[in-house]
Amino acid sequence: MRILLADDQSTLPSTLRLWLDLLPGFTLVGVVAEVALLAEGVRLWHPDLLLFDWQLSGLVDSPARQRLLHQLRTIQPNLRIVALTTEPISGQCALIHHVDAFVSKSEPPDALALVLRRFHHVGPEYP
């Protein structure tokens, strides 16, 4: 499963890559640290799943986020989006925005692993 990381934390990509190495079937294909480059990254790497930092720098407000996610689904219709967030309220918002799942960064990485495995077994939602 091809994963694209959209997060502006500089130390996360290398760690995530090593971490994903321990999860069979997952590959980190790309990293995007800015909103402006995200659509281009999706076009370039054709990820199956997007790990999307809910507070990614460059997102001005909620409608902007909604537009961005709609655009990404247009580019990659079978793209699964997992929101990474720190606040429960943001998680609820993620559901409203029709993301596939959200994972709190305050939780242990096992929570993320659980979500990723679930999507890996289920397969693409939009064949």
């Binding site: 934390q9 130390t11 996360l12 760690t15 995530l16 971490w19 190495d21 990474l84 960064k105």
Partner: protein
């Protein structure tokens, strides 16, 4: 007021030392009312007392003058009567007429004026020929002054003691007091001018007592008004019955005025309103130098004033009590809504309430309740904003770092097994990240308590910022402080904020791998230099909406310093912040 409030039940106090507004209002209103009443009654009492003193002076002056006038009038009448009878009565002027006929004249005269205690007709040698009640008949009065004067001309004598007559009249006049007499005498002369005898009469001094009673009759007994008759040497001629004491010294009076009044202390040490009048020394009264004194105790004269004053005070006190009740009702009405607001505010403070009720009793209370409500809403919003900001800071820093380090800790054992060199590298990354997270936490704690920045050690602050940046971003931050100058707290805060903003800019925009900080503390200047190896930028192209950079510059300039930026694309950036030394 606090001491006073301590005597009242605690429900009238906010704390043991603070009286409630309601209590203060009631005490103030009733206190002021009572004070005004007391003042009013005092003023009225004083005004009344002055008026009464004037009235007493006038009425006593009138009394004294009336007494003097009556005495003068009656003495003159008696004198004229004796003269008229002596010069015109045929029975007395006819030598051959019997003594019985002459005695009838005398008896009639005494009957007409009972105040004559004795009337007699003497022959020219001084032997009493005939007299009322046949007293002293046959005795010689030739040596009496009144007889000797009466032989020559009509005579009115001063009051004197009647010793001889008292003995003769002992059976008729049964009195405890001394017999005093006023003598009248007139020669009885025939038509040819021959002296036939002397007509004399002794007026009993009780006559003066009768006049005194007549004069005092209209005066209320409770007024304690008394009348004295003295000679001008101060000897008492007529005093109130049963009176004992000393008289006022006449020299204190301005007798030349004839009448007068004064308030003075008498020998009994009491203060009296005293008026005086003298007998008009004219005609037959020329020999008389009598002084009439009318006095009234000042306390009695003022009594109506004090009574009025006390009545006003009692009525006023009643009104003050009523006023206190009204004040109590009014205070309750005024403070009711304030108390409601106070309780609501107190409940919010204790975490048991969320809003202030909007009250519409009065404009002020409505404004107050609305303002308080808005204030609390603003405070709540501000608190929530601050919490959100801190939460965002946590997300941007500590949570992100911990998420990453947690992931790294998960994979580190496997990495170590397969590649120990990579394992060591990742362990170092983990160490730096944890260290950075700790620094981030300390930085956040400083943000929660900004005043602590001024108290913190500058070395620690810079280390904290550097570690946090490295831990969060992996950018290597080196730093150095040169020199030792004690910085003012506000200057320290400015340097901290400048560093913080500069590192944030490097992380967000520079894409740098290293950053170097140098703080030069010299006596003549303070310099802060921040350099990075990022992609740089053209300072002239920085737009005005670059809020962080603008704030940094304004903060430095407000503290008396200056900011200079050197940067070019692909050549990194150097910030120079400089301050002149503070004296």
């Amino acid at each position: 007021m606090r001491r006073l409030a301590a005597w009242f039940p605690t429900r009238y106090r906010v704390t043991s030392a603070q009286p409630t507004l309601r209590f203060l209002l009631v005490i103030t209103f009733s206190g002021v009312a009572l004070a005004l009443v007391a003042l009013l009654s005092l003023i009225v009492g004083q005004i009344s007392a002055r008026q009464l003193e004037q009235d007493a002076r006038q009425s006593l002056t009138l009394l004294a003058a009336e007494m003097a006038e009556r005495m003068a009038h009656e003495l003159t009448e008696r004198y004229s009567e004796i003269v008229l009878i002596a010069t015109t009565d045929l029975a007395l002027r006819t030598p051959g007429l019997s003594l019985i006929s002459k005695g009838v004249v005398l008896e009639k005269l005494q009957e007409l004026h009972p105040d004559y205690i004795w009337i007699g007709l003497m022959d020219p040698a001084g032997t009493v020929l005939v007299a009322t009640d046949n007293q002293l008949v046959g005795l010689s009065v030739a040596d009496r002054i009144w007889f000797q004067a009466g032989r020559e001309a009509p005579f009115l004598g001063d009051v004197r003691e009647g010793v001889l007559l008292a003995q003769a009249l002992a059976t008729k006049v049964n009195r405890q007091d001394q017999l005093r007499l006023v003598d009248f005498a007139a020669p009885v002369v025939s038509d040819d001018g021959q002296l036939l005898g002397v007509l004399a009469a002794h007026l009993d001094w009780q006559w003066a007592r009768r006049l005194e009673q007549q004069v005092l009759r209209p005066v209320l007994p409770a007024s304690d008004v008394e009348i004295f008759v003295t000679d001008q040497a101060g000897s008492a001629l007529l005093t109130p019955a049963d009176w004992q004491g000393a008289l006022l010294d006449p020299t204190t009076l301005d007798l030349a005025q004839g009448t007068g009044t004064l308030v003075d202390v008498w020998p009994d040490q009491r203060r009296y309103v005293t008026s005086f009048a003298t007998i008009s020394a004219r005609g037959p009264l020329a020999n008389l130098q009598w002084l009439i004194l009318a006095r009234q105790p000042l306390r009695t004269a003022y009594a109506p004033a004090w009574q009025t004053q006390w009545q006003i005070f009692r009525i006023g006190a009643l009104f003050a009590a009523l006023f206190a009740l009204v004040a109590w009702w009014l205070a309750n009405r005024i403070t009711h809504q304030l108390v409601t607001l106070t309780h609501a505010a107190e409940a919010i403070r204790q975490g048991q309430g969320h809003a202030i009720p909007i009250l519409a009793g009065t404009a002020e209370v409505a404004t107050l309740s609305t303002s308080l409500n808005q204030l609390i809403a603003d405070l709540t919003t501000a608190t929530e904003s601050e919490r959100n900001r801190i939460a965002r800071e946590l997300h941007d820093s500590v949570t992100q770092t911990l998420f990453s380090t947690s992931m790294l800790a998960d994979v580190l054992p496997k990495i170590w097994e397969s590649d120990s060199v990579l394992g060591r590298t990742k362990l170092e990354e983990l160490r730096l990240a944890v260290r950075g997270a700790l620094a981030e936490m300390r930085t956040l704690l400083l943000e929660l308590r900004p005043a602590a920045i001024a108290d913190a050690d500058l070395h620690q602050l810079i280390r904290q910022l550097a570690d946090a940046t490295t831990g969060r971003t992996g950018i290597t931050v080196t730093w150095r402080i040169e020199g030792e100058v004690q910085l003012a707290p506000d200057h320290k805060v400015v340097i901290y904020r400048t560093l913080q903003e500069a590192l944030n800019n490097i992380v967000k925009h520079a894409e740098a791998t290293t950053a170097r900080l140098l703080l030069r503390l010299q006596r003549d200047a303070i310099a802060l230099i921040i350099a990075d190896d990022g992609h740089g930028f053209t300072p002239d192209h920085v737009t005005g909406d670059h809020f962080g950079l603008r704030m940094m510059r304004e903060r430095i300039q407000a503290s008396g310093g200056d900011l200079r930026i050197e940067s070019n694309p692909d050549e990194g950036t150097i910030l120079y912040a400089e301050w002149p030394a503070r004296r």
